[in-house]
């Protein structure tokens, strides 16, 4: 069964891009446009990996990240942060990986494979 990646980003084009990229690599994808929907999808879909944009309206990205790092039931889910503002993540517990936009596709995929395989 293919690994599932939850893509959380408020930019539709970025969601489409990442979904296409991950699908091409053989992963299933689920997308959400903000942190609230992302949490719903997390509960519903039980993904193996999350890519998370921290820079979303109403701080939903950072709120979700903190929640996921604090609550035991979510601590095991690897998170890759994709952020447009470098340095923003530094105040938070360390994610699996951090990529600034525009991302390096190869480096991202390497990190994804490392997490999922």
């Amino acid at each position: 069964m293919a690994k599932k990646i939850l893509i959380i980003d408020d930019e539709e084009d970025i969601r489409t891009f990442l979904a296409t990229l991950f699908k091409k690599e053989g992963y299933d994808t689920v997308t959400a446009s903000d942190g609230v929907k992302g949490l719903e999808a997390l509960k519903r879909e039980d993904p193996d990996l999350i890519t998370l944009d921290l820079q979303m309206p109403n701080n939903t990205g950072t709120d979700l990240y903190r929640k996921l790092r604090r609550e035991d039931k979510y601590k095991g889910v690897p998170i890759i942060v994709i952020s447009g503002l470098p340095g923003r993540h530094l105040a938070l517990p360390e994610p699996l990986g951090v990529f600034d936009k525009p991302i390096d596709r190869d480096a991202l995929m390497e990190k994804v494979r490392e997490a999922l395989e």
Binding site: E11, L21, P57
Partner: protein, 668 residues
């Protein structure tokens, strides 16, 4: 010749023979007595008795006649006794043969004693004795003497001696009349002391003194006056002091002569050294013993130095006042109760002229002192304090101020007031905010551009994937991503260019409703797909006005896209199925266009609302460039208008653009 003993008998006897009738009666009585004695005793005894009586009679008569005891006439004697001065009569040996009542009281009944013994306690005649002189030349003499009364009190007397002569004009006695001038002498001495004091004062006082008669002639002057102006007695005062030939116009001395009151003037004179002196002169009346105004005293004080200092003070005060009023900041001075004591004109023009009112009422519209008040801090520690504050202007608008408070000390060094100097830094703060905005804008622009780049890159990847998989749908999806992001880049560049100052406005007369209808058309269908009903409520033909068409289009577009995004991004659990965005436009009765865009989104949280024009995250959306509200604000400013908004959390937001209608470039 000694006085006949038996005072009473002598008095009666003397009295008896003081008149012819009485003499006759006495002679008769004497004859009768002698006859009786001759008859009864013996004629020899009668003869002896006659001789004795005759001798006594002769002596008494002699005494009466020659010693002036004709004074013993009752009326004359009463006068002699009662005269209020010391009366005594001395014989040639300076023995006292008669005294009056006052003499007796003060010196005793000293008949037969030497006068110099009685008066002076001396054993010999006084040098220059006036009694002796009168005996010598028969003339009246006078002298001042110092004598001692029987009680040992020393008195000063003035003595007059007058001769007592017989029928042949021979001086047989001298009457000495002495008047007690002790009190007079004392007064004289006191007067002399006062006179000397007055003289010293008159001459020594450090001002110019002169006394002037009614003809304006100098009676006397003091040393100071003499030194400076000369001023001979009899010289006209106006000549001596002012070099004039006639009375000065509005002369204060003339005024004093006229009404008997004190008058003063300020005058400028030329001194002996040729320099000018500024005097303050007083004329006061001098009355004689009858109460008549006979002269005036003029007192003049040189106030040249005072006047110079006064002028300098006035200049300094004037300079200070000019500075106080002219300096381009708001100055107020408060007391310890924070009430305004004084303020400069700029302050008054801006906040109103309200002395006595608390400063926090005047320019903060508060009912109590501000927290961390710099004025109070200065009162507490006497140091200068600086703060940034927001003041409320007279018209209700606010201004950012840099406030400095500094102490004002009295002569004891106590801080009695504080000066508050406020500089309007609103423009600086605005620039600061703009720079901050720019900083944030640059950061957000970078973020957006990165998203766009990623979108473009993603689009290319998706297109290529589509080609590789021969999946047309994927190719189309990717191409649309590319198109979309290219469009977004264009919009950002356009907005960036708009926000730059180099952009020239292009005004034209247009009916603004046409632009609104265009924007409505552009976004209606897309909004509907996102569950947002976009409506337009504007008069069909709003009056034309001067607008930059593209700018107005940007303004409305940004407001509409922000509103749509707010609705689309509404993540509340209880959010409505469909949202609404309404565009309205009208011209009010003040000839202002009022364009409003209202949404039913979640509203702007309170903490964001204050800085909505620079919070780009809240306006971030699919269509927005992040510069939206900056553009909106700029467009409004360029049309001399304003942007305001109201927002209720959970209910929605309404943005209003108020733009005054202009029909020509120079119209107000």
């Amino acid at each position: 010749m000694r006085s006949i003993s038996g005072r009473t008998i002598m008095r009666v006897y003397v009295w008896a023979i003081a008149s012819l009738f009485r003499v006759a009666m006495v002679a008769l009585a004497t004859a009768a007595l002698l006859t009786a004695v001759a008859y009864l005793i013996d004629i020899a005894y009668a003869g002896l008795l006659a001789a004795l009586l005759g001798f006594g009679y002769g002596a008494a008569a002699y005494q009466v006649r020659n010693t002036g005891m004709a004074l013993d006439f009752p009326g004359v004697d009463r006068f002699f006794q009662r005269v209020p001065c010391y009366l005594s009569i001395q014989d040639k040996d300076l023995r006292i043969i008669r005294v009056n009542k006052l003499f007796r009281r003060h010196f005793g009944q000293r008949i037969g004693e030497f006068c110099y013994k009685v008066y002076k306690g001396s054993d010999e005649a006084c040098p220059g004795c006036p009694v002796l002189k009168t005996f010598e030349d028969g003339q009246t003499h006078t002298a001042q003497e110092s004598v001692v009364t029987k009680n040992g009190r020393e008195v000063e007397i003035i003595v007059y001696t007058t001769p007592v002569t017989d029928e042949e004009g021979k001086v047989v006695g001298v009457m000495e009349m002495s008047t007690n001038i002790t009190d007079v002498k004392q007064l004289q001495q006191e007067v002399e002391v006062k006179r000397r004091e007055y003289q010293n004062l008159f001459d020594g006082v450090p001002c110019y003194l002169s006394t002037i008669d009614r003809d304006f002639r100098i009676i006397r002057v003091n040393e100071q006056f003499r030194k400076e102006f000369g001023g001979e007695t009899g010289e006209f005062c106006y000549k001596a002091v002012y070099g004039r030939d006639s009375v000065c116009p509005d002369c204060h001395i003339a005024q004093t002569f006229k009404d008997g009151k004190i008058h003063s003037r300020e005058k400028t004179v030329t001194k002996a050294d040729g320099g000018k002196a500024h005097l303050i002169v007083y004329a006061s009346p001098i009355f004689d013993e009858k109460g008549e105004l006979t002269a005036a005293m003029e007192m003049a004080t040189d106030i040249t130095e005072v006047k110079t200092l006064q002028n300098k003070l006035h200049e300094t005060q004037e300079r200070f006042r000019q500075l106080f009023e002219g300096v381009p900041c708001y100055i107020s001075i408060q007391d310890r109760d924070l009430n305004i004591i004084d303020s400069n004109q700029r302050f008054k023009d801006h906040f109103g002229d309200r002395p006595g009112t608390a400063c926090y009422e005047v320019y903060k519209k508060r009912g109590s002192a501000c927290p961390d008040c710099p004025v109070m801090a200065t009162f507490n520690d006497g140091l200068i304090h600086t703060r940034e504050e927001t003041a409320i202007n007279g018209d209700g608008s606010s201004s950012d101020m840099l406030v400095q408070s500094s102490p004002i000390h009295d002569e004891n060094g106590e801080c009695v007031a504080v000066m508050e100097v406020s500089t309007d830094i609103s423009r600086v703060k605005q620039l600061q905010r703009e720079l901050t905005y720019m900083g944030q804008t640059v950061a957000v622009m970078a973020h957006r551009i990165k998203n766009i780049l990623m979108g473009l890159e993603g689009g290319i990847f998706v297109v290529n994937t589509g080609f590789e998989d021969d999946d047309q749908e994927t190719v189309v999806k990717g191409w649309e991503m590319i198109e979309r992001n290219v469009s977004r880049v264009s919009a950002i560049v356009k907005d960036l260019l708009y926000c730059s100052k180099e952009r020239e406005m292009s005004f034209e007369m247009l009916e603004p409703g046409s632009v609104l209808r265009n924007v409505h058309e552009l976004f209606r269908d897309r909004a509907a797909r996102d569950g947002v009903d976009l409506t337009l409520d504007a008069a069909e033909n709003l009056p034309e006005g001067l607008f930059d068409r593209d700018a107005l289009h940007s303004l409305v577009t940004n407001l509409v896209t922000n509103a749509i995004d707010a609705c689309v991004n509404d993540s509340r659990e209880d959010r409505a199925e469909r949202h609404a965005v309404a565009i309205t436009a009208r011209l009010d009765d003040r000839e202002n266009y009022r364009i409003a865009v209202a949404d039913t989104g979640p509203g702007i949280p309170g903490h964001v609302g204050e800085s909505v024009f620079d919070d780009f995250f809240s306006t971030k959306g699919r269509e927005g460039t992040g510069l939206g509200l900056l553009v909106v604000n700029k467009v409004a400013e360029e049309h001399a208008g304003t942007i305001t908004f109201e927002s209720t959390e959970g209910k929605g937001t309404i943005f209003r653009a108020t733009i005054p209608r202009k029909t020509s470039p120079d119209s107000e």
